[in-house]
């Protein structure tokens, strides 16, 4: 029964993926491409929420993990953007699923305060950065202006990650750590909701 449902899900996702290719909708502030990148990150909860969740998790795991991820995440974001500039395309449904998965996984990690090996933490950050960097700029042609937009996004990721990690790094009191972990469980629940939304509406979900 479960296997049948999985097969149906796989076919449904596969079919939904066929027609729609993801295209980014960049924010135009009128204040220049760097500000466009900063604004795009700030106005895209599918970008900023996972970054904050990962940073809170990294802060709970200590300075060494936070340092590693602070370097890995923005670099992966830039790499994802560069891949998008190369003309590579991805189905919109794939990016929607990836966003929902990111919410579930990162919310789960934060809720569990999971003691991951450094290499796994870096892999999670790299995956998030690659997917979101790619999603932000997919369908965007390479140009000097768009490169600066990507730089603005990368800088925002760096700053927001550092600031969010600094919120949980000094936490010692048990109830404060529990409060942050509860936030993680809410994020995971939100991810499940998004997954249901994608299941229901396919590529039109976002």
């Amino acid at each position: 029964m479960a296997g049948g449902a999985l097969r149906i899900a796989a076919v449904a996702i596969g079919l939904a993926a066929l027609p729609a290719i993801a295209h980014a909708h960049l924010v135009v502030t009128g204040m220049g491409p760097i500000y466009d990148g900063i604004d795009h990150f700030g106005l895209s909860p599918e970008d900023s929420i996972p970054v904050v969740a990962l940073a809170l998790f990294a802060g709970l795991r200590g300075p060494a993990t936070a340092r590693l991820l602070l370097a890995a995440l923005p670099l992966a974001w830039l790499a994802g953007g560069m891949i998008a500039f190369s003309g590579a395309a991805a189905p919109a449904i794939g990016l929607s699923v990836a966003t929902a998965v990111a919410f579930v996984v990162l919310g789960g990690l934060l809720a569990a305060n999971a003691p991951l090996p450094p290499v796994v933490s870096v892999a999670a950050a790299a995956a998030l950065g690659l997917v979101r960097g790619f999603a932000d700029l997919s369908g965007t042609p390479f140009s000097g202006g768009h490169l600066l937009t990507l730089a603005g996004m990368g800088a925002s990721v760096f700053v927001v990650f550092a600031l969010a990690a600094s919120l949980t790094l000094p936490l010692k009191r048990f109830w404060m750590i529990v409060a942050v972990r509860v936030g993680g469980s809410w994020l995971a629940a939100l991810g499940l909701l998004l997954a249901g939304w994608v299941w229901r509406y396919g590529a039109r979900a976002f």
Binding site: V28, G30, P33, I34, P63, A162, S166
Partner: protein, 335 residues
């Protein structure tokens, strides 16, 4: 290694300079006044560079601004148009939409001011990202406060030259007391000249002012490097003196955002106070983010290698040098 660092900083500067050209954006201005029963006067004032005016055309949904202006002339770096309109309708402006053709392709704002004979009206800012605004006059209270406050916040946060100077100062100061004195001195100085320049008591041509502001950035960068190396200088000992001296220049730069609007003296005073508060809010927010970032690095136990730690100072210096050359070329007529 130092050469590599300098090259990297120069590259960053070149990459950023094109997009974030030093802050010389002057807003355009549309004022509609009811001068008598059924008589309205509209004035459109848009910035020009020499004889060149960017493509900005104001439209009003009732068609008033499509008529031929009674006046059109260029003065003091502005193109000015004036219309006189007669309308028998009870409230011909209420619910109309102002839209600015070409604004979306610029980085300037348009300040819209409407004043009716019964002393009601509204002030609003039309921005490139949403180049139109609805005139909801029947709602009553004018929106002057948020408009000027937001203009002040936006003016500093979108001005990389001012922010880089403040960042340079933050790299120089060594303790909280010194930080407080330096930020206060900068605030006091730029508030003084912002007020004096906006009220027309002092004046400096825009290219000269921009060149001097760029020079202040170029000055502060080597001092920041000196401070990071632990060397002593007048600036590292008394950063508040430098902050005050150059703050006077930056205040005149802030004034560009207001004085060019052509507001009458009464409105200008209230606008000046609100604009200055907005500038302070923006400046404090920037300082708070920089200090919070510094705290985050400390909590993460990040120990930057000396060349890495110097990159921001070199980048500030590279941009300052580039802008100084650009504006000096304009001042001396080389471009």
């Amino acid at each position: 290694m130092r050469r590599l660092l300098l090259a990297l900083a120069m590259f960053c500067g070149l990459a950023v300079a094109g997009a974030a050209a030093a802050h010389e954006v002057r807003p355009a201005y549309l004022e509609i006044d009811q001068t008598g029963p059924g008589v309205y006067q509209a004035i459109w004032k848009q910035p020009t560079m020499g004889d060149v005016a960017i493509h900005l055309v104001p439209h009003l949904s009732n068609g008033w601004l499509e008529e031929t202006p009674v006046d059109q002339y260029a003065a003091d770096g502005f193109l000015i148009r004036r219309w006189v309109i007669r309308s028998a309708k009870a409230s011909p402006l209420d619910g109309q939409t102002v839209s600015i053709e070409g604004l979306a392709d610029t980085i300037t704002d348009v300040f819209v001011r409407v004043r009716l004979q019964d002393q009601t009206g509204l002030d609003t800012i039309v921005r490139p990202e949403a180049p139109q605004a609805r005139l909801a006059l029947s709602k009553g209270a004018p929106t002057t406060v948020p408009a000027f406050l937001l203009l002040g916040i936006e003016h500093i946060l979108t001005g990389p030259d001012h922010l880089l100077f403040v960042l340079g100062l933050l790299l120089i100061v060594r303790d909280r007391w010194s930080l407080l004195k330096t930020v206060s001195a900068f605030t006091l100085a730029h508030s003084l000249t912002l007020a004096a320049a906006t009220l027309g008591h002092i004046q400096l041509s825009t290219p000269v002012l921009n060149a001097l502001i760029a020079l202040s950035i170029l000055f502060v960068a080597p001092e920041a490097i000196r401070a990071q190396r632990g060397e002593e200088s007048l600036t590292t000992r008394y950063p508040w003196v430098v902050a005050f001296a150059f703050g006077l220049l930056h205040g005149m730069g802030f004034a560009n955002g207001l004085s060019t609007l052509g507001l009458d003296k009464g409105a200008l005073l209230a606008a000046l106070v609100l604009f200055n508060i907005g500038v302070e809010i923006g400046q404090l927010a920037f300082i708070a983010v920089v200090l919070a970032l510094r705290r985050a690095f400390r909590l993460m136990a990040i120990e930057w290698a000396r060349p890495m730690a110097l990159i921001p100072s070199y980048a500030i210096g590279a941009l300052g040098a580039m802008w100084t050359i650009q504006y000096a070329a304009i001042v001396f007529g080389a471009t």
